[in-house]
């Protein structure tokens, strides 16, 4: 049982800031109820937006003063073929629910973000990436078909050949409400991941290690200590093990054992705690490199083991920040941003570094592009933190990179247009009634339609 009953859900984003409240929340029980729900919201003049599991961090899933359509009851599988690995499901189905169904049959998600508590709709709308971006590209590449409900009452079935499909993948939820999604799964022979964990003590070493690891392993990710500007960290790589067995159908994977039930006091993730954590994390592994093997759960979803960990940042919440910069400038830009963070004293608990490959996404507004990407979180200290992040945005702009909208609460309209110059072509596909707090912030669009 969950700590908070589903009917009591708060409809914030994962960073719990900004706290922008919708005027209304509706929860359709059936996909066939959605067109009427959208029409009613549109007729009232309110802006509409889908809300999945609220695992985006800033304001991409928020719609202040408008209607949020919560998809949590659209949680049905529509088709699963254990022979071919084709799966079709309603958009509120979570990746966790998909894994529980398909792993026993020898299938895995083709791409997974660092938490399995995201919905299919959210995975498409942000065109999420995982540790295998260099090998597989984004989630959208594995979507073969989807259904989109528009506020005009239409329900469209779209394939990768449709322009509206390309706008909906990475479409930030703005092209309409995705009713269901069909994906191609990835075959596996066991639920184990085998690989290696290697220490690095400088950024230059990271780049060299990462290139070698990316050439041999489909999954590569690094953790980096942001309190140390030279860039020490651990690179983890792996692949599905050929042996080790699959679970029985119906046996659920290990659930979260720990929980943060209420907002923790503000000092819980303060500088001294972060420093201690980072030192312990880096120091835990003594050897330069160790072979690793274990269940996929801690490899892909270490944070899911602590439920509601985001409450550890206290009432004011926190910012997540992820950017990508092209390889050419990667080293310098990452170094510069790490330097600023270290100087500001804003240590990040978990900073993740990886490289994106050049596999193109079908999504018009997709965030990943070839280069190096860094993701980290920072406690919300108000204006100070916003200024710090806008400064980092500036560096990202100069090096021709981009910031991830799913993890953004600060970027200015100018930055947005620089990161996503295709935004005007994208805007032609918007549903007339759909909008989000993010979209209004970065485009200056009005909140009401009247």
């Amino acid at each position: 049982m969950s700590v908070t009953a589903r009917s009591q859900r708060e409809h914030l984003s994962w960073g719990r800031t900004p706290r922008l409240r919708p005027a209304r929340v509706v929860r359709p029980a059936w996909t066939s109820d959605v067109p009427a729900a959208l029409a009613a919201a549109a007729a009232s003049g309110q802006r509409v937006l889908a809300y999945g599991q609220g695992r985006s961090y800033g304001d991409a899933c928020l719609n202040e003063g408008g209607t949020l359509v919560d998809t949590q009851n659209l949680d049905r599988f529509l088709y699963f073929d254990p022979e071919s690995g084709v799966l079709r499901a309603e958009s509120g189905v979570t990746l966790a629910q998909i894994l529980a169904l398909v792993v026993p049959h020898g299938w895995f998600l083709p791409v997974t973000p660092g938490t399995k508590y995201v919905t299919l709709g959210g995975a498409v709308a942000n065109d999420v990436h995982g540790k295998n971006h260099h090998a597989a590209g984004t989630f959208g590449r594995f979507v073969t078909r989807l259904a989109l409900a528009r506020s005009t009452g239409e329900v469209l079935e779209l394939t990768p050949d449709d322009d509206l499909f390309r706008a909906t993948v990475a479409g930030l939820g703005l092209t309409g409400l995705i009713l269901w999604v069909e994906i191609r799964l990835h075959p596996i022979a066991s639920d184990q991941i085998e690989g290696r964990s290697t220490k690095f003590s400088t950024l230059a070493e990271f780049f060299a290690l990462s290139e070698a690891a990316s050439a041999r392993s489909p999954y590569v990710v690094s953790w980096i200590d942001t309190l140390r500007p030279e860039g020490r960290g651990l690179l983890m790589e792996g692949d599905h093990a050929p042996d080790g067995g699959l679970p029985e159908p119906g046996v659920s994977p290990p659930a979260a054992r720990l929980a943060v039930p209420v907002d923790a006091p503000g000092w819980a993730l303060s500088r001294p705690t972060v420093r201690a954590f980072n030192a312990a994390y880096y120091g835990r592994q003594r050897a330069k490199a160790v072979e690793t093997r274990g269940h996929y759960e801690p490899f892909f979803y270490p944070l899911d083991a602590v439920r509601d960990w985001n409450r550890g940042y206290g009432r004011r919440g926190f910012f997540q920040y992820q950017f990508v910069v092209p390889f050419a400038d990667g080293d310098a830009a990452v170094r510069e941003i790490l330097g600023r963070l270290a100087a500001s004293g804003e240590g990040s608990f978990l900073a993740v570094l990886k490289t994106f490959g050049d596999v193109p996404s079908p999504g018009l507004m997709s965030f990943p592009r070839p280069g190096v990407t860094l993701a980290l979180d920072l406690p919300n200290r108000g204006e100070r933190t916003v200024r710090l992040l806008r400064g980092c945005d500036e560096i990202v702009r100069q090096s021709g990179g981009a910031v991830y909208p799913a993890k953004d609460a600060c970027m200015t309209p100018e930055s947005f247009r620089t990161f996503f110059p295709q935004w005007e072509a994208f805007a032609e596909h918007l549903d007339p009634a759909f909008s989000s707090s993010f979209w209004r912030r970065v485009t200056g669009e009005a909140a009401s339609r009247h």
Partner: protein, 245 residues
């Protein structure tokens, strides 16, 4: 294992059906709305049900009760377990003053349930085995001013199931009465006071599955409703009538 679910588009019943599907049971689903029924059936197929049959069932159709049991028996080759789940929570404003509306809701919540359970009991008694479960409600334990028409129908179901259980004792047929407290399903949207905590349907559905597996008698879910309702029943009428809830 073969299972018939009457009112299979119910959010609670669907959670129970998922657990039977994951065990590889063959299912017959009866409901009145074919689009919703198709979505529910697809989900259960994907989750591993050996077979899923879709049957039309409208509780307001007098002929439907016998027909649905006959069809399910033929399709499944016998019914090992059945869950009767359909119901409506009519708005107080209407049913408190409109006798036709009150009786129509009573037909859905009680009369049709008695009819379909009678046919199921006959089939199961003849088979010599079966688990016959029905979703009643804590609302049937005492009539409250806000929902006594609904409560009266659930009281009828509870009493009916109690007698049926005793009558079938020793025949191999178990009768299971489920009494949920408020559950977060479409039924209570707009009717149930929003501030009040409603249980998640997953937990309630799982509890029903367990009760059916074990052939339990009367089950309150979540379990704390048993002592709560014992306390509510013991409030003297001269006090009870002053309560506005």
């Amino acid at each position: 294992m073969t299972v018939l679910i009457v009112g299979a588009t119910s959010a609670i019943a669907h959670q129970t059906a998922r657990l039977f599907a994951a065990e590889g049971a063959a299912l017959a689903l009866a409901a009145r709305n074919p689009d919703k029924l198709a979505a529910a059936a697809a989900d259960l197929r994907a989750r591993g049900a050996e077979a899923v049959h879709e049957l039309a069932y409208d509780a307001l159709d007098d002929d439907a009760h016998q027909r649905v049991v006959t069809e399910a028996t033929a399709l499944l080759g016998g019914i090992d377990a059945a869950l009767v789940a359909h119901g409506v929570l009519p708005p107080a404003e209407t049913v408190h003053t409109d006798a036709d509306a009150a009786l129509q809701s009573f037909t859905v919540n009680a009369t049709s349930v008695i009819a379909v359970m009678t046919h199921l009991a006959n089939t199961m008694e003849q088979q010599g085995h079966g688990t016959l479960a029905v979703i009643s409600s804590v609302a049937g334990d005492r009539g409250r001013p806000s929902n006594y028409v609904y409560g009266a129908a659930k009281a009828a179901v509870t009493a009916f199931a109690s007698g049926l259980r005793a009558r079938l004792h020793g025949t191999g047929v178990e009768v299971v009465t489920i009494k949920p407290g408020p559950v977060d399903t479409p039924m209570i949207v707009g009717v149930h006071e929003p501030g009040l905590l409603a249980a998640d349907p997953e937990g309630v559905g799982a509890r029903i599955h367990r009760a059916m597996r074990r052939g339990e008698g009367v089950v309150y879910t979540p379990g704390y409703w048993r002592p709560v309702m014992a306390a509510v029943r013991s409030i003297p009428d001269r006090l009870f009538k002053r309560l506005d809830w």
